[in-house]
Symmetry: C2
C-alpha cells in the first residue's frame, strides 16, 4: 500500500501532540467536575429530523448510511446524520431522559462533532468541542448566567497559568439589552438590525450605518444610535451610564442592563480582568434569548471566538414542559489544532514513560520487568528496553522519545538522568523521579 | 417536540452510568500509560478504499456523505466511511507517519467505532473500544507477545479489584501451532480446517469431526487428531506434552509450541492464574499469524470474548518496509453497556460534587460561592445550591444526587454528612472529606 495522505479537514496529531491535547482535555474535565458538572456522552448520530430543525445548518450535515442498506426507500425515514454540535444532542438527551435527571442539571460533554464544510484553511470537518450547560425545568435562575462563564474562564486561566497559552478575554452582552434599545427607538424588526450590527467588527461603524439606512430604511440618527450602542465596551458596569447617555428607554432595555451588570460585576469579583461588557456581541444566527458570550485570546484576536455561548429560554420543550438553559462551548480543536500542528504546543516526550529500564541480556529480561513492575506499583510510568543492545544504544532509545531516566541493574540498581548525565544508586521499591518528570510536560511556545 | 426515543444500537447512559464508564476508561488509560503506551486518536473516517480492503466486513460499513454533495459522481472517489475498528486506522496512521514515529512504537487508542449491523440484542452500532498495539519496523521481538496480554490483564485485574467486576481469564493460542500440526498431518488447506475447528465451542467435537470428514474429506483419524488438539487447554505449559502425545511432527508446530510456552510461562509469573493455553482459539477470520488472544469473564462465559487480539506479521506495509504488530482490543461498550443499562454497574452519585454548599439567602449567595471556591482550590468538587430554599429542601437536593456533604454558613461554618446526620464545625480553607468520598464511588453488583 502506498503511503496514505491526510484527509483535508480531519486533523490527526503525532503522539506528543495528542499528549498535549489530552493535557488540555484533562484541565477541562477537572475544572468542570470541580464545579459539579456531570459527564455525559451522546451518540455520534442524530436523526436527520433533529439535525435539520434549524434551517441554516442543513447543508453542513454529514449523512450516515449503511453501505448495503437493503432498501433505500424504507430506510429514508430513519436517515441518520453526524451531530454538528453538542447542543442539539444535549437538548434531545434532556427531553428523552427528563424523568431521570435532577434539575437544575449541570453537564459537561467533550466530544467530536462533524461538519461537511468545504475544506479550507482553518476549517475542520471533524473537531472536538467541550460544552458546559446548566438546564432547568420551567425556570433557571439568572445566577447561572454568571456561573457558566466563570467555569469556562477558570479552565482557560489554568491553560494560561500551566501551559503558557495566551490569556482569555470574554466579551459578554445581553440580547435583551440591544433588543430593548432598538424597540425603544421604535424599531420593530430587531433581528434584522442585530444581524447587521453583528458586522461591526468586520466592516466598521460607518458601513453598518449605511446598511441600516440603506437596506432597512432607518433614519440616520436612529442608525447612529444603534452603532453607538454597539461601540460600548467596558471592563466593569460603566456601560450602564454610557447606554443611558444615549437617551433611549424601554423596559426590556432595563432588564438587559440589570442582567448584564450582574454578570459583569460577579464575574469580575471571581476572575478579575477576564470579562468585559461588549455591546456589539450578537451571536447573529443563534437562538439565544439573554446573555451571550464570546471569548478571544489576547494578542490572537484574529483567531476569532474560541469559546461562545449564551442563554436559551427554551433549550428544549416537549410542548408541556420547557427547559431553559445557559451554556458555553469551547472549540478545543479550533484552539489547539493550529498550535499543535505547528509544533507550538507540544509535550516534552512522545511517550508517557518517565523511565526506560535497560536490559542487560535477553536471558535476564525478567529482572528488568520486575524493576518496571515495582515502579508501576508506585504509579511511575515506565517501559523496558526492546533489546539488550549496548547501553549507549538503549540510552539513545530513551533520548529519542524524551524519556528522562534510564534504569540499570536490578531492584537495587542505578538510575541515570540522561539530561544531566547524573547517575546514582537507587532502589526500585522506593526511588521516585522529581514530581515534574512523572508525566510529560506540556507547554506553549508562541 | 415529542419525547425522542433511543435509536437501537446506539447506547447512551445517564450521568451515573457515564461516571461508571469513565472510571473504567480512567483505569484503562492509567494502566496503558504506566506501561509506556502513547495515546493517539485517529479521525472517525477512513476512505472507503481503506475500509473495504478486507472483503468480509464491507457490508457493515457506514458510509458518510455531505447532505448536499455538489456532484455525486465527482465525490464518489473520495467516499468516506466511519471506521469499524481501530486496527485499520492504526495501520494507516503508522504508514502515514512512519517517518515521525520511533519504533518499536507502543500506542493505545480509546475511541468509538461504528458498524452498520442489523440491530439485535447485544449488538451495538456505535461502541467504544480500547486498543493497545506494539508495532515494529521490519521485526518485532516475541517478548511483546507476552507484554500485550499482561498489560490488558493488569487493567482487567484492577477492574476486578476496585469495582468488583468478574475476574478475567485469557485464552492464548498460536496460529503456527495449529497450522504446523495440520501440515504435519499432511493437510494443505489449513485455513479451511481452522475455520471449522473454530466452531468447537458452539457445536462440540463430534460435529466438528463430521464437518472435517464430510465437507473437507479428511480421514476420520486425521479429523479426530485435529479435534483432539483443539481440546487441549492447560493453565501452564502442560499442553506441550499433551500435543507431543498426539504424535504429529512439523517444524512450524515446534515453533508454535515454543512461542506459546514462552507466553504462558511469562504471563503466569506476572499475573498468576489469569491465562491459559487453549488450543482451540483460532480467531477465525482475522489475519493473525502467531499468538492469538481471547478473554472471558469467569462466570459470564456466555458474554463471549470481551478482549481479543493477536500478532500480525504485517500489520502494515508500504511495499518496501513491513510493520509487524501485536495487540489486544477491549470491547468497552460490549463489556460495560449491558451492566450499566441494567444498573449493575453504577456510581453512588450522579454528579462529581462531594459537597453542596447551602445558600442562606440570595443576597449572600456570594458567601457560598467563596466557600465553594476555597474547596475547589484544594480540588474538592462542589456545587452551590441553586436556591436559598429551606435547609431541608437544600439537603434533599444533595440527597437526590447522592452528594454526601452539605456545607452551612461561611468560610468558618459547619458541614453535615447527610448519610449519618453528623454535623461538625469546619473551616473551608482546611476541611477535607474522607478520601473515599472525594470522587463518586463506582461498583458492580452482579
Amino acid at each position: 500500500m502506498a503511503r496514505p495522505k491526510p484527509i483535508s479537514g480531519f486533523p490527526e496529531f503525532l503522539p506528543a501532540g495528542r499528549i498535549a491535547e489530552q493535557y488540555v482535555l484533562d484541565i477541562l474535565r477537572e475544572t468542570f467536575e470541580l464545579h459539579g458538572y456531570a459527564p455525559i456522552e451522546t451518540r455520534a448520530v442524530e436523526t436527520m429530523e433533529q439535525l435539520t430543525r434549524k434551517g441554516e445548518i442543513t447543508k453542513e450535515v454529514y449523512v450516515v448510511r449503511r453501505l448495503h442498506a437493503d432498501d433505500a426507500a424504507s430506510e429514508k425515514s430513519d436517515d441518520l446524520g453526524l451531530h454538528f454540535d453538542l447542543t442539539v444532542p444535549f437538548a434531545r438527551y434532556v427531553l428523552e431522559n427528563a424523568g431521570h435527571l435532577a434539575f437544575p442539571f449541570r453537564r459537561y460533554q467533550i466530544q467530536h462533532v462533524w461538519r461537511g464544510e468545504r475544506p479550507q484553511e482553518g476549517r475542520y470537518r471533524e473537531f472536538c468541542q467541550a460544552d458546559i450547560d446548566i438546564v432547568g425545568q420551567d425556570t433557571l435562575a439568572e445566577h447561572f448566567d454568571v456561573e457558566a462563564p466563570i467555569v469556562m474562564l477558570a479552565a482557560l486561566e489554568r491553560m494560561h497559568a500551566e501551559l503558557g497559552l495566551p490569556q482569555a478575554l470574554m466579551h459578554v452582552n445581553n440580547r435583551k439589552l440591544a433588543e430593548g434599545f432598538y424597540r425603544g427607538l421604535g424599531i420593530e424588526d430587531t433581528l434584522e438590525v442585530l444581524q447587521r450590527v453583528d458586522k461591526f467588527d468586520k466592516i466598521g461603524g460607518d458601513a453598518v450605518v449605511e446598511l441600516l439606512t440603506g437596506e432597512l430604511g432607518l433614519a440616520e440618527d436612529v442608525a447612529r444610535k444603534c452603532v453607538a450602542l454597539a461601540g460600548i465596551c467596558t471592563p466593569d458596569d460603566g456601560f450602564v451610564d454610557q447606554v443611558r447617555a444615549l437617551g433611549v428607554e424601554h423596559p426590556m432595555l432595563e432588564e438587559g442592563l440589570e442582567s448584564l451588570r450582574a454578570v459583569v460585576l460577579a464575574a469580575n469579583r471571581r476572575v478579575p480582568g477576564r470579562i468585559v461588557a461588549d455591546l456589539k456581541i450578537a451571536r447573529g444566527l443563534d437562538y439565544y434569548t439573554g446573555t451571550v458570550y464570546e471569548t478571544e485570546l489576547v494578542g490572537h484576536e484574529k483567531l476569532g471566538s474560541i469559546s461562545s455561548g449564551g442563554r436559551y429560554d427554551s433549550l428544549a420543550s416537549d410542548g408541556k414542559i420547557t427547559f431553559p438553559g445557559v451554556g458555553i462551548s469551547l472549540g478545543v480543536t479550533r484552539l489547539l489544532g493550529p498550535l499543535i500542528t505547528k509544533g507550538q504546543l507540544t509535550a516534552n516526550r512522545s511517550v508517557p514513560s518517565a523511565v526506560l529500564v535497560a536490559v542487560d541480556d535477553e536471558a535476564t529480561r525478567q529482572v528488568a520487568e520486575e524493576v518496571a513492575a515495582a515502579l508501576r506499583e508506585r504509579r511511575i510510568p515506565c517501559e523496558v528496553a526492546p533489546r539488550a543492545d549496548k547501553f549507549g544504544k538503549q540510552i539513545k532509545h530513551a533520548d529519542r522519545r524524551g524519556i528522562p531516566f534510564v534504569w540499570f541493574g536490578g531492584m537495587s540498581g542505578q538510575v541515570k538522568d540522561i539530561r544531566s548525565g547524573d547517575q546514582v544508586d537507587a532502589d526500585a521499591s522506593s526511588w521516585e523521579p522529581p514530581r515534574e518528570d512523572l508525566r510529560p510536560g506540556v507547554s506553549f511556545q508562541g
